[in-house]
């Protein structure tokens, strides 16, 4: 027994020691990245985002360019390093990770999901720390603080779909709209009075709400039958693909959809990724609408997508990331690096603080050309945390994601 006893003690000591070891900072290094949720519902998205951030940072370090289509250069004497930790989508864990990364001298932060955003936003504002965010609920606007999005907030996305649908509405009666949304903080962020007011204003009749689990484990027949019974013409929601794919499959089975006997259009905000959806569902998914979506990764005519493709070919040709949020990672890295670069124009490396990066960096990002990865070039400022001003609307047609419209951002929160 003696051996086991000391084995345990040794194990404890090693654990404590390993966790105390500080990671030494090199001279003139700036960190990008931040907390990730590699476990939980957004695991897949997070992993792709992380890959995007790592590739972009490697590109900047090697070439000192910001992007192939841009002339600005990143200061040659400063190396970028990706620093990240897995928060498992737990707010308490994200908090201690944030403290750790801040103590390491990180000047920008990152938000990996709605629970993390809700827990960290006041703290980030107190520390005047700018952050990019994969979550984009209306809570980011009340009031707008220091978390910046690179795709529209969910309510704006859904409003854009409502605009687009209304434009092609021909019948004399008011179109009936319902929420068919994910049963979590992200999905429910749609249910705010301002959203209802907007739908009323542009001439919809609001019917009610039905919830689908974030990741459906059974087809939402009940919810869809309810929509059919109430005669809904447009269903709006915030869902990720594991929720929307079974939902649309069931819609088709029940004969619901824009190209089905019962005419109903189903539209979701960005994390529903039309490109991913179309690839998994094929023609089965025809009629599915997604607002604020990224372009598919094989759309090489777009400079930004070409850039993504080149980086993937260059850095990991055998392990291609096929998830669309790779583009999200590229955007996040672009924004973070641009903020650092702009701040470095105004202040020397030694004088950089989170506040300087926020005020001289994030706030000064105007018309950042992302090579058309985002719907429009990104513009931020004090109180302006939504980077895009227009929202692209895609629809799945013949098993392919097709752009069907562009609608302005209304700022509904």
């Amino acid at each position: 027994m003696g051996k086991t006893r000391f084995g345990f003690v040794a194990l404890l000591i090693v654990m404590v020691a390993l966790f105390m070891v500080p990671i030494g900072a090199q001279a003139k290094t700036l960190y990008v990245g931040g907390t990730q949720s590699l476990t939980g519902a957004f695991a897949e998205d997070s992993a792709a985002v992380l890959a995007g951030i790592q590739d972009y940072v490697r590109y900047v370090n090697e070439t000192k360019m910001m992007a192939p289509w841009r002339k600005e250069k990143f200061p040659a004497d400063i190396t970028l390093e990706v620093l990240w930790r897995d928060d498992e989508l737990k707010p308490a864990k994200a908090l201690s990770i944030y403290e750790e990364l801040k103590a390491k001298g990180m000047l920008v932060a990152r938000i990996s999901g709605s629970p993390i955003a809700l827990a960290l936003k006041d703290r980030l504002w107190e520390d005047q720390m700018g952050a990019t965010s994969m979550a984009s609920g209306s809570y980011l606007m009340t009031p707008p603080q220091s978390i910046f999005t690179y795709y529209p907030i969910y309510t704006d996305s859904c409003a854009a779909i409502a605009d687009w649908f209304k434009a092609s509405w021909k019948e004399s009666r008011k179109p009936r709209v319902a929420y068919l949304t994910a049963d979590n903080a992200m999905g429910k962020s749609l249910e705010i009075p301002a959203m209802r007011a907007y739908l009323d204003k542009i001439g919809y009749e609001f019917v009610g709400t039905q919830y689908v689990p974030l990741i459906a484990t059974s087809p939402p027949t009940t919810q869809l039958t309810w929509l059919k019974q109430k005669g809904v013409d447009l269903a709006l929601g915030v869902m990720i693909n594991p929720g929307s794919q079974p939902t649309v499959k069931e819609m088709v089975r029940l004969g619901m959809g824009p190209f089905q006997p019962y005419k109903m259009t189903f539209g979701v905000a960005l994390p529903g990724h039309a490109a991913v959806f179309a690839e998994a569902m094929g023609k089965l998914g025809d009629g599915y609408v997604c607002a604020g979506s990224f372009r598919p990764l094989d759309d090489l005519a777009t400079p930004g997508i070409k850039f993504c493709d080149d980086l993937q070919k260059k850095y990991h040709p055998d392990k291609r990331v096929t998830h669309i949020m790779y583009e999200g990672g590229m955007l996040e890295a672009m924004v973070q690096v641009e903020a650092l670069r702009l701040a470095l124009e105004k202040a020397p490396y030694e004088k950089l603080t989170p506040k300087v990066v926020l005020e001289q960096g994030f706030y000064r990002i105007k018309n950042l050309n992302t090579g058309d990865i985002s719907s429009t070039p990104l513009t931020y400022g004090k109180g302006d945390i939504e980077g895009v001003d227009e929202i692209r609307i895609d629809q799945v047609r013949n098993g392919k994601s097709v752009k069907v419209g562009l609608a302005p951002v209304h700022g509904i929160y």
């Binding site: 897949e44 990741i215 087809p219 089975r253 998994a280």
Partner: protein, 295 residues
């Protein structure tokens, strides 16, 4: 009325899937008195196995099922031998924590192998579409029904006509008697775990065909517990009956009550409400045997 019937039919479909998962749970419980929290994770693994065999390997459906069953047998053997056998005779909390730990290890392994990704294989499994008037019967209800009936029949035959089946029934009755008669209880345990794994994995492939393979598929296990409690923990027939009842109640409640509630989501919490009610008023379920304790 059509709406109501549609809800009931949908509930039936879901109920069959619950029942299938609950059966695996009951088998282990009957034979070894282990409450296997990881049953839902067998389902999750099943979903991913279905994906692996059907999509990247491109096997036909029957071969995929067969391959998945082989993996399930192996999984059952390993799990029983290395995690549960050392705990024979330990208190109930230790055993439950072991199955929970097992569940997380399975999740971790699935993450390592399949990268926690959402893997869909829509349209690869055979579907049967039935429409009666304006009510459509979900194909998965029929397939779930067929698979459940096959599973239950096979299990009945196993229990009735084979030696190991007899040993399993005897072990469920009285462990000490069985051991003193020279029947190897460990073999019985191993077989029960293998059966549970097979049932779980097959359920997973079915579910994966409906909603795609995902880590969250495991959560359906939690709902199956409500089914098991309602039906009585040691009754296979009870599990099927309770599965259908619960599936229907859940859907009717969601259809009529959800739109009235501000936050919705009643379908998600409904099994737990049933669970509490059953536990307070009829702890041994509808078909379970009440046990009498002596000091």
């Amino acid at each position: 009325m059509t709406f109501f019937i549609q809800l009931v039919v949908t509930g039936f479909a879901q109920g069959m899937v619950y029942a299938l998962i609950a059966i695996g749970f009951v088998i282990i419980l009957k034979c070894s008195e282990v409450f296997n929290i990881a049953q839902g994770h067998f389902v999750m693994i099943g979903g991913y196995l279905g994906y692996t065999f059907l999509v990247p390997l491109g096997l036909p459906v029957w071969a995929s099922l067969l391959a998945a069953v082989v993996v399930a047998v192996f999984m059952g053997l390993v799990i029983e031998r290395f995690t549960l056998r050392p705990l024979i005779g330990q208190p109930v909390l230790a055993v439950i924590m072991m199955t929970i730990a097992l569940a997380t290890v399975l999740s971790g392994l699935a993450t390592l192998i399949w990268g926690a990704e959402y893997k869909a294989y829509h349209g690869l499994l055979p579907t049967i579409i039935l429409k009666v008037g304006s009510i459509s019967i979900p194909s998965e209800s029929l397939i779930g029904l067929i698979v459940s009936v096959i599973c239950v029949t096979l299990l009945m035959l196993l229990f009735r006509y084979t030696k190991i089946g007899l040993a399993m029934r005897a072990t469920a009755e009285d462990l000490q008697v069985v051991q003193s008669l020279g029947i190897k209880a460990t073999t019985v345990y191993a077989v029960s775990w293998i059966i549970a794994c097979i049932v779980g994995v097959i359920g997973g492939i079915l579910l994966g065909g409906i909603s795609g393979a995902n880590m969250v598929l495991a959560d359906i296990g939690l709902k199956a517990f409500a089914v098991v409690l309602l039906g009585g923990v040691n009754s296979i027939g009870g599990a099927i009956f309770a599965g259908i009842i619960l599936g229907m109640l859940e859907n009717v409640a969601a259809g009529y009550l959800d739109p009235l509630l501000p936050g919705g989501g009643l379908a998600q919490v409904f099994p737990f409400i049933v669970m509490i009610i059953v536990l307070i008023f009829k702890p041994h379920g509808l078909f379970g045997l009440a046990t009498i304790e002596r000091i």
